[in-house]
């Protein structure tokens, strides 16, 4: 038999989570059935995050953007301010069946490590806010969360995005591939004719980090340069243990993004 707990505030949630550290969390619910299929028996306790106002809402301000953990992909695509300030995230959230996007939460994405949205969060410099009753509040970079699990008793309460800066350009592309879709998110900041920041993250459902030449080819139809493949291979870093999210070294990112943006304009 499964017991359902429905905390009504963040304080109540943290207490329940602390008292029942093995309880399953229920957010949008889109991933629950797949998790249940892998369990030998249903969980004894489930904590429903659905009725907690502290986990909902989108706030866009001068100091950045706050996304409550229960914000759905659908809300992120629909929100005018998110579309304006973080088009790359909005675009990343617009893929997938509407029946799923209406339910999947950004907190679920951050914990479930889905390859579709994480690259966009990473290039935007997002931080995930964890809270626990007995652990200090912390905000970790998305790339740091990929290799470690949340501490027992912790919950994702929000995702924070730094404010958009002058000269920022972001791009997001989803490409259908033979063994599953590949998503590519990029951010380039040029000021006074100089590249100040460049980030390129590629997410794939299964295969290990894509080759940068393949990325270029997917984006622009041809490799940007004819450098030998072996050299290019050194320019990416796998960000998760499965190697399904990779980030590219700054020089490579900058080169590919500039050609990509030129190509798009």
């Amino acid at each position: 038999m499964t017991f359902l707990h429905r905390p009504k505030s963040l304080k109540e949630l943290l207490k329940t989570r602390h008292d029942l550290p093995d309880a399953m969390l229920l957010a949008g619910g889109a991933g629950i059935m797949k998790i249940l299929h892998k369990l030998e028996e249903p969980p004894h306790d489930v904590i429903d995050l659905g009725g907690i106002p502290d986990l909902t809402g989108i706030q866009v301000g001068r100091f950045g953007t706050w996304l409550g953990a229960m914000t759905t992909l659908h809300e992120l695509t629909d929100d005018v301010l998110v579309r304006k300030h973080h088009p790359c995230l909005s675009e990343a959230c617009s893929h997938g069946p509407p029946q799923v996007r209406a339910r999947v939460s950004i907190g679920g994405i951050a914990s479930g490590r889905r390859f579709e949205v994480l690259p966009a969060l990473m290039v935007l410099g997002a931080r995930i806010e964890y809270r626990g009753q007995e652990t200090p509040q912390r905000r970790d970079r998305v790339q740091d969360c990929l290799r470690k699990d949340a501490a027992k008793g912790e919950v994702v309460v929000a995702v924070h995005l730094p404010p958009h800066q002058d000269g920022d350009q972001t791009v997001f592309r989803r490409i259908q591939g033979g063994s599953g879709d590949v998503v590519i998110a990029g951010r380039l900041r040029v000021a006074d004719g100089e590249v100040k920041e460049a980030g390129l993250v590629v997410g794939t459902p299964t295969q290990p980090g894509l080759h940068i030449a393949a990325v270029e080819e997917a984006l622009i139809g041809r490799p940007v340069s004819a450098r030998p493949i072996s050299l290019m291979e050194q320019s990416f870093v796998d960000l998760d243990p499965e190697g399904s999210v990779s980030s590219y070294a700054r020089a490579a990112s900058s080169r590919v993004l500039r050609s990509w943006l030129e190509h798009l304009s």
Binding site: T2, L4, Q99
Partner: protein, 151 residues
Amino acid sequence: MKLSFRVNSKIEVLDVEPLTPLIEVLRDRLALIGAHQGCTGDNCGACTVLVNDVPVYACQVPVCQVDDAEVRTVEGLTADAERLAPLQEALAKAGATGCGFCTPGMLMIGLALRQRQPRPGPEELRELLSGNLCRCTGYEAIVQAMLEVME
């Protein structure tokens, strides 16, 4: 747990395990077998129902999430069991059904869109239908029939 929700405007009160998939409750407990179970979670869309007017895959929704909610299934499209709803009639007339397995899910998408927007364009309809698979019709007939009835 004790759960109460409305299905096609009728209040249902059930004692049920909270993580039971909604589709099982609809089909096995309430004998509403219109929503089909095709793939159990790989996006076929045959199980699509509306929860508070939003289309969801009933095979993926734990029933505790519909507590106090309004669920609509294909059975609720028309109050008169002897007559087809305009959306159903349009699909039938246009030959937009083959085996019919996907049809209940497609109809619920049509209903959701119609409620959201009285005169949707083909792009909006296609986008909303993107989570529903049809192996028989090639989709175009479904899109055309729905657009016609919504005009």
